[in-house]
C-alpha cells in the first residue's frame, strides 16, 4: 500500500513536471538569451542598440539563461540608465565608459551648485546644530550621509531633480524626473506594450532630446525652460476660467502660466534646448564644477560669431554625433562651429559663406544672422563688459521675498529616501514679476541680467539677500534701448520708483515702503543698491553684485545726453569725457541754445 502511494505520488510528480515542461514556451530556433523566449517581439530602442545584435542582458542584466520569470528577472535592471547600475550597463568598457564618469561629475548628477549655495551661508546663521556639509548628491546617498539644517532643506525642497533620482517613484511630473542616462535620453512616449502578451514597444532612446525632457525639471527657480517658450509662472489665479474649471494653462504642482513673448530662437525657428546645449555642456567634461556657468559651454558667440573649423575625417566626436543624429547633413569637408571648450557644434555649418544652422530634431536648415563685431553698438567704448544678454533679454522671472518657515514638530517627505522625517519646510513669497531685467555684475566681470534671491528665514530670523546672474532665455532680436539702462532705476538696480535730478543731484524715491512686519526695517524688495552705491544685495557665492557707485555714476552721466544723442555712431561718444567737458564749458553747442 505504502509502495503504491509512493509510486502514485512519483508518477503524479512526473506527470506534473512533464506537463509544466511541455507547457513552457521555448523558442523555435536557437537564441542566445532566454529573455526573448517570453519577450519574443520587442521593438528596437533605437538603431544604435538593435536587440537582434545586443539582446537584452547587455543592458538590462538579470539571468539570460533561465526560462523562469522569477529567476530570469533576478538582478535585472529595469532602467539600465540608473546611475546605481550604470557601470554594468551603459558604462561597460565596450560601450560608454567615459561618458558615465563625466555624467556622474556633472551638475545634473551632483547638484553641487545648489548644495554649495544652500550650505554657504547657513552655518553661521542658524542656531540649530549644523553638521558636516555635503558636496554632491552621492554623498547624501551614502551609508553615513552628512547632515545639517541646510541639507534637510535641500532634501525636502530641492532634491526631486537630479539624475540619481529613480524614475516613476511618484505620480505626475515628479515621476518623470530622474533615472540617470534615461532622464534625458529616453523619450516620454507612453509605453503601449500590451497588444498581445509578447509584443513590447521598447522605450525610445535618442540623442535628439525633446525639450519636454528638459522642461520637466527646468521649470522652477530660474524657470528658463518656461521662459524660453514664452511661458511665465503666474501668480496662480488660473484665469481666464474655462467652463466651470480654472485655466488649462497649467504647470505641475497646481501652478499656472501666462503667455509672454518667447525667445527669438523659439519663435523664429522652434529650436529645442539641445539645438544649442552641447553634450559637454549638459553631461560635463569630466571636471566637477560648482556652477552652471562653468559647466555650460555654449555661448551666443558660438553661433553668431563662431570659431569655425574644418571637420576633419578623424574628428571623432563631431562625426559620431553627426552619425547618431542622422538628420543633419555631413558638412563634407566644410566648416563647423566649436564652443569655447572645443565641443563641435556640428549643427552649425558654414556653406557658401553663410552660416547655416540645422535643427537636430529634423535637420531643417535655418540661416543664422552673423553677429557683427564691427558694428558700432557692439564695439562701443565703455560697453566692453556688456554680455549679449544684458541688452537682448526682454524679461526675466523675478520672485521677491522668499519666506521660509521650518516647523520642527511636523514631518515632511525626504525626496532622497522617500520617507517622512521630522521637520517641515514651507515657503511663501511676497510678489512675482516678469518685467525688464535688472542688470548687475556677474562674477566673470560681465554685465548680466540679474534676479533676486531673498530668503527670509522666519524661524531663525535671518535673511540672505543675493543676486543671481543668468541668461533668462528671453532673447529678443531687437535690443533694449539706451535709456532702458542709462535712466531706468529698475534696470540699474535701484528699484521701481522715481529717479530724477534735483538741485544737480540724482534723487530716487522707491515705490516700496519699509515693511517691518513682513521683512526687515531696512529692506525694499527691488532695491539691490542705493544711489550712492551701497550694495544691499550681495555675498553671492560667485560674487555677483549690483553696480557700484562708479558704475552707477558712469551709467547715469550719459542720461541727459540721450534725448538727442541716441545713436551709437554719435560723435559725442567717441570721447565722452571730452564731450562732457565741452558741454560744461558751454559755448555754441546746439543743445545749449
Amino acid at each position: 500500500m505504502k509502495r503504491l502511494i509512493t509510486g502514485l505520488v512519483l508518477a503524479l510528480l512526473g506527470a506534473v513536471i512533464i506537463f509544466k515542461e511541455a507547457g513552457l514556451k521555448r523558442p523555435a530556433a536557437l537564441v542566445r538569451e532566454g529573455c526573448l523566449s517570453c519577450h519574443s517581439s520587442v521593438t528596437d530602442p533605437d538603431p544604435s542598440h538593435p536587440i537582434q545584435a545586443f539582446g537584452c542582458f547587455r543592458c538590462h542584466l538579470g539571468n539570460p539563461y533561465s526560462y523562469d520569470k522569477e529567476r530570469a528577472h533576478y538582478g535585472m535592471a529595469q532602467n539600465p540608465g540608473d546611475l546605481r547600475v550604470v557601470e554594468h550597463t551603459c558604462g561597460t568598457e565596450a560601450c560608454h565608459p567615459q561618458i558615465i564618469s563625466r555624467v556622474k561629475k556633472g551638475l545634473m548628477a551632483t547638484n553641487r551648485s545648489i548644495l554649495e549655495t544652500i550650505q554657504a551661508n547657513w552655518p553661521s546663521r542658524a542656531s540649530i546644530s549644523y553638521g558636516t556639509p555635503a558636496a554632491r548628491v552621492a554623498d547624501l546617498l551614502s551609508d553615513k550621509p552628512p547632515s545639517n539644517l541646510a541639507l534637510d532643506h535641500y532634501r525636502k525642497m530641492c532634491a526631486g531633480c537630479h539624475l540619481w533620482k529613480p524614475r516613476k517613484d511618484y505620480d505626475g511630473e515628479a515621476g518623470l524626473r530622474g533615472g540617470g542616462c534615461s532622464d534625458c535620453h529616453v523619450t516620454q512616449q507612453e509605453i503601449s506594450s500590451k497588444d498581445g502578451f509578447n509584443t513590447f514597444r521598447h522605450p525610445e532612446i535618442t540623442t535628439r532630446i525633446p525639450s519636454e525632457n528638459c522642461i520637466k525639471c527646468h521649470n522652477r527657480s530660474a524657470r528658463i525652460g518656461l521662459s524660453y517658450s514664452g511661458r511665465w509662472e503666474s501668480e496662480g489665479y488660473g484665469t481666464p476660467y474655462e467652463g466651470a474649471e480654472l485655466s488649462s494653462r497649467k504647470l505641475s504642482g497646481n501652478r499656472f502660466y501666462l503667455d509672454l513673448p518667447s525667445d527669438v530662437h523659439f519663435s523664429k525657428a522652434s529650436m529645442e534646448c539641445v539645438d544649442c546645449h552641447t553634450s559637454v555642456g549638459l553631461m560635463g567634461d569630466g571636471k566637477e564644477y560648482n556652477s552652471i556657468s562653468a559647466q555650460v559651454d555654449i555661448t551666443c558667440e558660438s553661433c553668431h560669431m563662431p570659431m569655425l573649423s574644418r571637420l576633419e575625417e578623424d574628428e571623432n566626436l563631431g562625426r559620431r554625433l553627426l552619425r547618431l543624429n542622422r538628420r543633419i547633413p555631413d558638412p563634407a569637408g566644410g566648416k563647423i562651429a566649436f564652443t569655447v571648450k572645443g565641443t563641435p557644434v556640428y549643427n552649425l555649418q558654414e556653406k557658401g559663406g553663410k552660416l547655416i544652422f540645422f535643427r537636430k530634431s529634423d535637420g531643417l536648415p535655418v540661416e543664422v544672422p552673423r553677429g557683427s563685431a564691427e558694428k558700432p553698438h557692439h564695439v562701443m567704448e565703455g560697453h566692453e563688459r556688456l554680455s549679449c544678454q544684458s541688452c537682448h533679454s526682454l524679461w526675466i522671472p523675478q520672485c521677491y521675498g522668499c519666506h521660509v518657515s521650518y516647523d520642527e514638530s511636523a514631518k515632511q517627505t525626504d525626496w532622497l529616501t522617500g520617507e517622512k522625517t521630522r521637520g517641515r519646510w514651507s515657503e511663501a513669497r511676497s510678489l512675482m514679476r516678469f518685467s525688464r531685467p535688472s542688470l548687475g555684475m556677474r562674477a566673470s566681470a560681465k554685465v548680466y541680467p540679474v534676479a533676486p534671491c531673498q530668503v527670509f528665514f522666519k524661524s531663525e530670523s535671518f535673511s540672505l539677500l543675493t543676486l543671481s546672474a543668468f541668461d533668462p532665455h528671453t532673447t529678443s532680436a531687437k535690443s533694449r534701448q539706451c535709456k532702458d539702462c542709462h535712466g531706468d532705476p529698475k534696470t540699474i538696480g535701484l528699484g521701481e520708483g522715481i529717479l530724477t535730478r534735483k538741485e544737480d543731484e540724482w534723487s530716487f524715491r522707491s515705490s516700496f515702503s519699509f515693511n517691518t512686519e513682513e521683512t526687515r526695517p531696512d529692506f525694499l524688495f527691488d532695491s539691490f543698491v542705493t544711489l550712492d552705491g551701497k550694495a544691499l544685495h550681495g555675498n553671492a557665492r560667485d560674487g555677483t553684485r549690483p553696480f557700484n557707485d562708479t558704475e552707477l555714476n558712469r551709467i547715469l552721466d550719459v542720461n541727459p545726453c540721450l534725448g538727442c544723442h541716441k545713436s551709437y555712431r554719435d560723435p559725442i561718444y567717441k570721447d565722452f569725457s571730452a564731450s562732457v567737458r565741452r558741454f560744461r564749458e558751454g559755448g555754441d553747442l546746439p543743445c545749449l541754445q
Partner: protein, 565 residues
C-alpha cells in the same frame, strides 16, 4: 450644503448678537439705560440729549420700555434717520441721499453699461437712494440669467455693494463699521472692539465702535473701512492688495501667521506725501465734497505758484488732526511746470508714484461648485465667500453655495468668485479725463464672465461683455487721480518716448497676456484715450521737448556727478 446653511445661520446669529443683546424682561424698564450702561461716554457736545431721544422711537418715549428689542441701536441708519436726525439735519440728509456715497451710482451705472444692461452711464439712471431708480432686484425674476446684462445686478449686489452706507457690509478685520451717518461719524477700530468705559459692553466682542462718540474729526482709518481693496483710499496709505493665492500668505516677521485686513494681506508701497505729513482724507475731502458731491478741492486749492504769492508766505492751515502746516509753493518756472502743453496735465499724472493696474478680471458665478478647485485661492478679499470655500474645499462633493445680497440682505443660491490675470502698480498709461486734462488711466475692468447654473451646465463660458451702446467690448480704462503723490514728479522719460504711457502696452505681440496692458477707451463721458496725434507727439519728441529734457536733467550748466577717467 448643510454646513453652508449652518455657517450662514451661525453668521446670522452673530449678526443679531452684534446688533444688541436680544433680551427682554417684563419687570424691567429698559428705558433706564444707565442702570446697565454705567460709564458710557457722552455722544458729544453737539448731541447732549438723554439716551432715549436718540435710541427710542418718539411714540414709545415717556412710558417704560419693556424690551431691549425696542431700543434703536443706530438712529442714523437710513431706515431711521428721518425719524431721528432729520429735524436738525434736513439739509445734510437731503444732500447725502442724493450723493454718490449713498447712491453708489458711479459703480452701478458704469458696470451695468459695460455689461450691456443700459445704453449709457450718464446721466445716472440707477442707484440705491435719492431720486434714482432702485437697482433691480434679480431675486424676483424667475427667468434663468443667460447673458451678462441679466447677471450684472446680481453681481453688483453680491460682490460690489457691500460698501454701501445703507446696509452693513462684511464683519471682519478692517471692515467693521456702522450704517448711515454713523458709518463715517462714529469711529470703528480695525478689530471692531469697544475701548470705552460702558460696563455693559463686552471688551472682546467685535462689531462695536471704539467709543460711544459722534465726531466730525474723521481719521484715515475710518474711510478705509470702505475705501479698501485696490481703490483710491488704500493707495493714500501705501497699501496694494497682495495676490490671492495661498503661496502669497507671508508669515509675519516672527514667523506667525499674519492677519488679514479688509479680507486680504497688503503690500506696503510708498505712501502719499500728504499722508506722511499727517493729513487725513477729510483734510482735502470736506463736508460738501463727501456728503454732497460739491466743492471739491484741487491741488492748487492749497499749493500756489511761488511767483503769484510774490514773496508772501502761503497761509498756514490747521489739519483735522490739529497740526499746523503750510502748503509748499511750487515754481511755474521749473522745467516741467513751464511747458505750455503741460498746462493740460493733471498734477497727479506726474506726481503719482504708482497706480492701480489690475489687469484681466475673470468673474464666475457658480450655483453648484467644486470648492476643491478654489482651495489655494479662497482668500479673495471677501471674508464671507472665503468661509464658504474653506468649509467645503476638502469636501469631495459638489455643493450648492448660497451668498448674501448686500443690498437686500437676502441669501440667494450661487457664489461669485473672481481672479485676475496679473496685478501691477508700475505701469501708468496716460489718457484724457472728462475735463480734457491728461491723467493716469487704470483698468476698471477687463471683465471675462462665466456662469455655471444649478444643474452644472456652463451657461456663460468666459464671455467678454459688450457695452450697452454696442460700441465695443465692455472693457474700460478710466482716468483717475492716484493718491500716491510724491513731492517731486516722475521724470520726462516716464511718459515721453514711453510705450506704456502712450498706451501701446508693455510688449508687442497679439494674443499674449501682456496685451491686456493696452488700454481700451473709457466709458462715454469719462474721458478718452490719447488720439493718434497726441500719441505721436509723446513718442516722437520735438526739439523743444529735447531741450526741456536736457534742462530738467542737466541744469545749466551741466555737472556730471563723477568726472570720467
Amino acid at each position: 450644503m448643510p454646513s453652508v446653511m449652518a455657517s450662514l445661520s451661525a453668521g446670522l446669529i452673530i449678526l443679531f448678537l452684534a446688533c444688541g443683546d436680544a433680551f427682554s424682561d417684563e419687570r424691567k424698564d429698559y428705558g433706564l439705560c444707565l442702570d446697565c450702561h454705567a460709564g458710557i461716554e457722552k455722544i458729544g457736545v453737539m448731541h447732549d440729549f438723554p439716551c432715549t431721544s436718540c435710541h427710542i422711537r418718539a411714540e414709545l418715549r415717556g412710558g417704560a420700555i419693556s424690551s431691549h428689542d425696542k431700543i434703536v441701536r443706530n438712529p442714523s441708519d437710513p431706515s431711521l434717520v428721518r425719524d431721528f436726525c432729520l429735524p436738525c439735519h434736513r439739509r445734510e440728509i437731503d444732500a447725502l441721499e442724493r450723493s454718490i456715497h449713498a447712491t453708489v451710482a458711479g459703480i452701478i451705472n458704469q458696470t451695468r453699461f459695460l455689461w450691456g444692461a443700459q445704453k449709457a452711464v450718464y446721466p445716472y439712471e440707477y442707484g440705491l437712494s435719492g431720486t434714482l431708480k432702485m437697482l433691480p432686484d434679480p431675486s424676483g425674476s424667475a427667468a434663468q440669467p443667460y447673458s451678462p446684462e441679466r447677471l450684472v445686478d446680481d453681481f453688483l449686489r453680491r460682490r460690489c455693494l457691500r460698501c454701501h452706507i445703507n446696509t452693513m457690509g462684511e464683519q471682519a478685520a478692517g471692515l467693521y463699521r456702522a450704517t448711515g451717518c454713523a458709518s463715517c461719524h462714529v469711529l470703528y477700530a480695525n478689530d471692531g472692539l469697544y475701548a470705552g468705559d460702558d460696563l455693559a459692553v463686552k471688551k472682546d466682542k467685535t462689531g462695536y465702535p471704539i467709543t460711544h462718540r459722534f465726531t466730525s474729526k474723521i481719521p484715515v482709518i475710518q474711510c478705509l473701512h470702505c475705501h479698501n481693496h485696490n481703490h483710491v483710499g488704500t493707495d493714500y496709505v501705501g497699501l496694494f492688495e497682495k495676490d490671492y493665492h495661498k503661496s502669497y500668505r507671508v508669515p509675519s516677521a516672527e514667523g506667525t501667521k499674519s492677519p488679514l485686513i479688509y479680507g486680504l494681506q497688503y503690500h506696503q508701497l510708498s505712501k502719499d506725501v500728504h499722508y506722511d505729513r499727517g493729513l487725513w482724507c477729510t483734510d482735502c475731502h470736506g463736508k460738501e465734497d463727501v456728503m454732497a458731491d460739491a466743492a471739491k478741492k484741487s491741488c492748487t486749492s492749497c499749493h500756489r505758484p511761488a511767483e503769484e504769492s510774490s514773496g508772501e508766505s502761503t497761509e498756514d492751515f490747521v489739519t483735522k488732526a490739529g497740526q499746523r502746516l503750510r502748503a509748499s509753493a511750487f515754481s511755474r518756472m521749473s522745467a516741467a511746470h513751464s511747458v505750455d502743453s503741460h498746462q493740460r496735465v493733471r498734477c497727479s499724472a506726474c506726481h503719482a508714484q504708482w497706480s492701480f493696474q489690475d489687469y484681466g478680471l475673470s468673474v464666475i458665478r457658480e450655483d453648484i461648485v467644486d470648492a476643491y478647485k478654489w482651495r489655494d485661492i479662497s482668500i479673495q478679499g471677501e471674508p464671507a465667500a472665503q468661509r464658504i470655500i474653506e468649509e467645503n474645499s476638502e469636501n469631495p462633493l459638489m455643493i450648492y453655495p448660497v451668498s448674501r445680497d448686500w443690498v437686500s440682505g437676502e441669501i440667494r443660491a450661487g457664489l461669485w468668485s473672481s481672479g485676475w490675470r496679473f496685478r501691477r502698480w508700475e505701469p501708468m498709461p496716460i489718457g484724457v479725463d472728462r475735463d480734457g486734462k491728461y491723467a493716469v488711466l487704470r483698468p476698471m475692468y477687463q471683465y471675462i464672465l462665466s456662469f455655471v447654473g444649478g444643474n452644472g451646465y456652463v451657461i456663460l463660458d468666459g464671455v467678454v461683455p459688450t457695452r450697452g451702446d454696442g460700441s465695443s467690448a465692455g472693457w474700460a480704462f478710466l482716468p483717475y487721480t492716484p493718491h500716491t503723490v510724491s513731492p517731486f514728479g516722475r521724470n520726462c522719460d516716464s511718459c515721453h518716448e514711453n510705450r506704456i504711457a502712450a498706451g501701446q502696452g508693455i510688449y508687442d505681440g497679439e494674443g499674449l497676456d501682456t496685451s491686456l496692458t493696452m488700454p481700451s477707451p473709457p466709458v462715454n463721458g469719462a474721458g478718452r484715450l490719447l488720439d493718434p496725434e497726441e500719441r505721436k507727439k509723446l513718442m516722437e519728441p520735438s526739439m523743444s521737448y529735447l531741450r526741456k529734457r536736457l534742462k530738467a536733467l542737466a541744469g545749466e550748466p551741466y555737472t556730471p556727478v563723477a568726472p570720467l577717467k
